[in-house]
Symmetry: C2
Subunit: 513 residues, 2 copies
C-alpha cells in the first residue's frame, strides 16, 4: 500500500503542475546552457524522485554529488510528505492545485486521481524537451514510479536507478537477471531461500503470475509510455535501458541470489548519514534505562484507538523512555516516559548508544538503520515488503514479530522484555551489523561513484547483457532444445524403422527358407 501511495503522490505532485502556470513563471532549469560532453569533472544530474521513504536515499546521493561540485537539480512538488530542498542541490518546486489536507481525501480515489494526473504529466514534458536535452548528463530516479525512466528515454539521457525493488519483479526482468524460483523467494510470499516442495510450487506459481501482476500494477503506465514516447515500446523495455541499478539490499539480510553486472548493492545507504540530535531530545536519550524508538514509517499517521491504547498501557509499565513518531491525536492519558513527536530523526536516534529497542513496521529503511546500529527490534509489519523484511530479521535472531491487529499489552511487554533484556538479540545484531558494515566501500560512496561513472562515460553500455536482444523463447534456448529433441526423435525413429525392416526381411527370408 505504501508503494501505491508513492505512485499517487509522485504523479499528483509532478502531474498537477500542468494545472498551474509553472512553465511560464519557473523555468525547468534556472541556470547555464549546454555543456561540453568532454567536461567530466563536473556533471549535471537531473533527479526525478519518489515520495515517502523513497526520497531518503535519493536525497543523500543528491546532497553528496552537490557537495562534490556537481550541479544537481531535483524536480519536487510544492506539497509532499518528505521531499524538500537541501544545501547542495537545486530544487525546482512546482505549484500544485491542492492543499495538504486534500492528499488524505484523494486516498479514496486513487485510480481516478492517477488517471487524470498521468494524462497531463508527460504532455507538459514534451514541450520542453529541447531545452532539457543539452543540460543534463544523467537522470537519477526510483523506477518504482517510472516517470523518471520515461523522461530519461525521451531526453536520450543515461539513467541511474535507486530502488528497493518493484513488487512484481519487473526490476529483475528489466535487468535480465536470472531468479530461479527454486531458491529465490518471491516478494510478499514470506518464504526463505530454503523452501519445502509445497512452497516451491507456490513460489513458481507466483513467478508465473508476475507478468500479470506487472500488467495490473502498471497498465496505465504502459499506455502512457506508448503515447508519451510516441513509439511502440513496453515499460519493461524502457526500464531495461537503465545503465546502473543501485539496489537497496544487502546479503547480511537478503538471501544470496544471482546478480547482473550493472546491479550494485547499496543496502544501508542512509546508515552513515547521521546528524546531531536536537537539544530537546537530550533528556530523553540520556535516561538511565535507555530509550525505545517507536515509528511506523512515513505513511502511517493514525492508529485505531484500541491499538494506541495497547501501546500506551505497555509503555506505562516499562523503565525505558519511549520516543514515538505519531501524527494522530495524542491520547490523554499519556505516561510521563513517552514523548510523541510528529517527526523523529530516526536514524540519529538509533545511532545513539542509549537506544535499547526499535518498534518498527519493518520498512526497508528502518530495518537497515536498525541493522546498521545493531538495535534489537519489535516488528509490526503492515504490508508490502514489510512481512518479508520482518521474517528475514526474525530468522536471523534480530528481533520479534507481532501482529499489530491482535497485539495485547502482555504480548508487547513480553516482546520488549525479550529484545531489551535477552542479550542474544543484541549479540545476533552485532554480528549481522559487522557483516553488513564490512564492505569495500560505503553504500553512499558507492552510489555516488556509479552515478558519477554514468555521467563520465555517458552510460554503461558495456555492462548491458546481450540477453536483451533475445525473446524469452530464445533466451531459454527453447528453439535449440526443440531442434535437438526433433533430431534425437528422428534418429530414434529411423533406427527403429531400419531395425523393423531388417527384422521383417529376416523373418520373410526364414519363412521362405
Amino acid at each position: 500500500m505504501q508503494d501505491t501511495l508513492c505512485i499517487v503522490f509522485l504523479l499528483l505532485a509532478v502531474g498537477v503542475e500542468s494545472k498551474g502556470d509553472a512553465e511560464d513563471t519557473q523555468p525547468l532549469c534556472n541556470t547555464g546552457s549546454g555543456r561540453s560532453s568532454s567536461d567530466f569533472s563536473v556533471g549535471h544530474l537531473l533527479v526525478i524522485p519518489a515520495d515517502g521513504s523513497h526520497w531518503l536515499g535519493l536525497k543523500a546521493i543528491a546532497q553528496e554529488l552537490g557537495r562534490r561540485g556537481h550541479r544537481v537539480t531535483a524536480v519536487i512538488p510544492e506539497i509532499s510528505m518528505t521531499m524538500g530542498p537541501g544545501e547542495h542541490y537545486d530544487t525546482l518546486i512546482y505549484p500544485v492545485s491542492f492543499g495538504r489536507e486534500a492528499i488524505d481525501e484523494m486516498m479514496a480515489g486513487i485510480t481516478e486521481t492517477l488517471r487524470s494526473a498521468s494524462q497531463s504529466l508527460f504532455e507538459r514534458v514534451n514541450g520542453r524537451i529541447l531545452h532539457l536535452q543539452k543540460r543534463f548528463d544523467a537522470v537519477l530516479t526510483d523506477p518504482l514510479v517510472p516517470t523518471g525512466s520515461l523522461i530519461a528515454r525521451k531526453l536520450g539521457l543515461p539513467t541511474v536507478n535507486l530502488l528497493r525493488g518493484i513488487p512484481c519483479g519487473m526490476d529483475w526482468t528489466a535487468t535480465a537477471c536470472p531468479s530461479p524460483p527454486s531458491y529465490v523467494p518471491r516478494l510478499l510470499t514470506g518464504f526463505t531461500d530454503r523452501m519445502t516442495f509445497k512452497q516451491r510450487v507456490i513460489n513458481t506459481l507466483v513467478r508465473a503470475l508476475e507478468p500479470t501482476l506487472c500488467r495490473l500494477l502498471y497498465w496505465r503506465f504502459e499506455d502512457i509510455t506508448r503515447r508519451f514516447l510516441g513509439e511502440d515500446v513496453g515499460l519493461a523495455e524502457v526500464l531495461s535501458q537503465a545503465d546502473i541499478w543501485l539496489q537497496r539490499i544487502d546479503f547480511a539480510l537478503e538471501f544470496p541470489r544471482p546478480l547482473m553486472p550493472n546491479v550494485v548493492l547499496v543496502g544501508g545507504i542512509n546508515c552513515e548519514v547521521t546528524n546531531p540530535l536536537p537539544e530537546e531530545l537530550e533528556p530523553w536519550v540520556s535516561a538511565e534505562h535507555g530509550f525505545i524508538v517507536f515509528t511506523l514509517g512515513s505513511m502511517v499517521s493514525n492508529l485505531p484507538e484500541e491499538i494506541t491504547a495497547v501501546f500506551v498501557e505497555a509503555f506505562r509499565t516499562i523503565p525505558q523512555k519511549v520516543i514515538w513518531r505519531y501524527t494522530g491525536p495524542v491520547p490523554d492519558n499519556l505516561p510521563e516516559n513517552v514523548k510523541v513527536m510528529k517527526w523523529v530523526p530516526q536514524n540519529d536516534l538509533l545511532a545513539h548508544p542509549g537506544a535499547r529497542a526499535f518498534i518498527t513496521h519493518s520498512g526497508s529503511h528502518g530495518i537497515y538503520e536498525g541493522l546498521c546500529h545493531a538495535v534489537p527490534m519489535v516488528m509490526v509489519p503492515l504490508g508490502g515488503d514489510q512481512p518479508d523484511n520482518a521474517m528475514r530479521m526474525e530468522t536471523r535472531g534480530a528481533g520479534v514479530v507481532l501482529d499489530i491487529t491482535r497485539v495485547t499489552v502482555d504480548d508487547l511487554l513480553h516482546a520488549l522484555d525479550e529484545v531489551v533484556n535477552n542479550t542474544r538479540y543484541k549479540e545476533s545484531l552485532k554480528m549481522l551489523s559487522a557483516i553488513h558494515k564490512d564492505r569495500p566501500m560505503e553504500p553512499l560512496a558507492l552510489s555516488v561513484y556509479w552515478t558519477e561513472y554514468v555521467m563520465r562515460h555517458k552510460g554503461a553500455p558495456h555492462l548491458r547483457p546481450a540477453a536483451h536482444n533475445l525473446n524469452w523463447f530464445q533466451y531459454h534456448s527453447l528453439d535449440v532444445i526443440a531442434l535437438l529433441v526433433t533430431v534425437v526423435m528422428l534418429v530414434v525413429m529411423v533406427t527403429f524403422k531400419c531395425i523393423a525392416l531388417c527384422l521383417r526381411r529376416v523373418t520373410r527370408k526364414k519363412k521362405r527358407d
Copy 2:
C-alpha cells in the same frame, strides 16, 4: 595446454616432496602456535599456488597481505617456472627429486607423472593435519589445480580462490551461477555474446558436454578427492565450499553475464604492480620510434625455425626497437634493433610511454596488461583461452589477430603497421582502458580486502546461495513443473471426459426422444 602444464608442475612440485625427507628437516610452518580466533587485526594465510602465469596474481596478494602485517606462508617447490620467495611472505620450499631439465622430458608423460605425483601428495598432508589446523585462518589458491581446495576442506579452513576460469566451466557450476547458453558463450568456442542460431546450437551442445569434459579433465582428482578426504564427496562439491571467488575478468573485455554474490571481479590485478625498468633496457625503451614488446608467455620457450625467421625478417625492416622474450636458440642474423632476453618485465615495459605495440600469444595476463596500459596488440593465440581473448580484443578494435602457423613477413609487417600507425587502435584502447580502470577499488586492493574479510569472519557463509542444497532437478524446478503439468493434464482430461459423457447422454436422450 598451458593449463595442463600448470597442473603437472604443481603436482610435481608439491607431490614429489614425499620422495624427500622434507617433513623431518623442514617443518611445514616455521613459527608460532595456535592463534586466538578473535584476533582479527593479524591473520595467517596459507597460499597453495599454481605455477606459470597463475602465480602472478597470487604473489601480488601474498605480498600485499604480508606488507599489511599478516603472516603469509606460500608452499612452493624447489624447482618451478615462476614461483619463488618474496619480501613480505614466507616460503616453504620443498626439495624435488628431479632437475630443471627433467621438467621438459616429463611433458611427454603427463598422465603417468600426474598419477604418481598425486598419489603420494595427499597422504603426506594427512599426517600433518593436526599441526596445520590451528595455524591458519584461510587458504588462498587457484582452483584450476584443486590441491589447495582439498587441503582447505581437510583442514576445515575457509578458502579464497583466485582464478581466470576452469576450462570445463566447473567454476560456474561450483558457484551455482546461471550461465544461459543463449548469450553466455562457452570457453574455447570463439563465440561472442550475440550468436546465430547455429552458434547457439553448438554453444548449447558444448554446455551439455561440459560435465563430461570436467570428468575427463579431473577424473584423477575425483578419485584422489574421495581417498584424501575419506568421504564420498565430488570435486565440484568441494569447490562449491569456497567462500570468495576472485575472478580475473573484467567487463571492459568480457561479455556481461550473471554473477553470484561471492564472485568478485579482479581482472587486471597485476596492472598497477609496476617496478622501475632495469638500466640495461634504458636505451631500448627511449628510442626515437619507440619499441615493440614481443612475448609468447611463460610456457613457450622455443619456436620452429621457420616461424622465428619470419619474425626476424619483419623486425629487420621496421624503425621500432623490439624487446623479445625468447629462451630458445638466438638466430645468428639477429638485426640490431632486436634485443632477445630470457625474461622481460612485461608489465613494466607495457607501462612505458615508448611502447608502440605488443606482440602477444593473448594469454589473459598479457591481454589485461596491454589493456591497462592501452598498448595496441598483434595477437598470435596458441591455444587454451587465448583465441577467445584475442577475438574479444579484436572485436573491440584493440588489435589484429594472426595465425602463427601460417604467418608471413608481409602479414606481420602489415599488422604492425596497422596497430602502430593507424590511430584507431590506440583510440579504441584508450577508451577501453579508461572503462577498465574506472572502478570503485583497484583489483589488487579488492582482492586483499576480500581475503582479509574471509580471515576476519572465518568465511562468508551468508554469501552461499541455497541453490547448493538442491539437486539439478529441483534447481530447475522440474519436479514442480512435472506436478503442474500433471495437474493441468488431469483437469483437461476430466473436463473432456465430462463433456464427452454429457454429450453421450444428450445424444442418447435425443435418440430415445
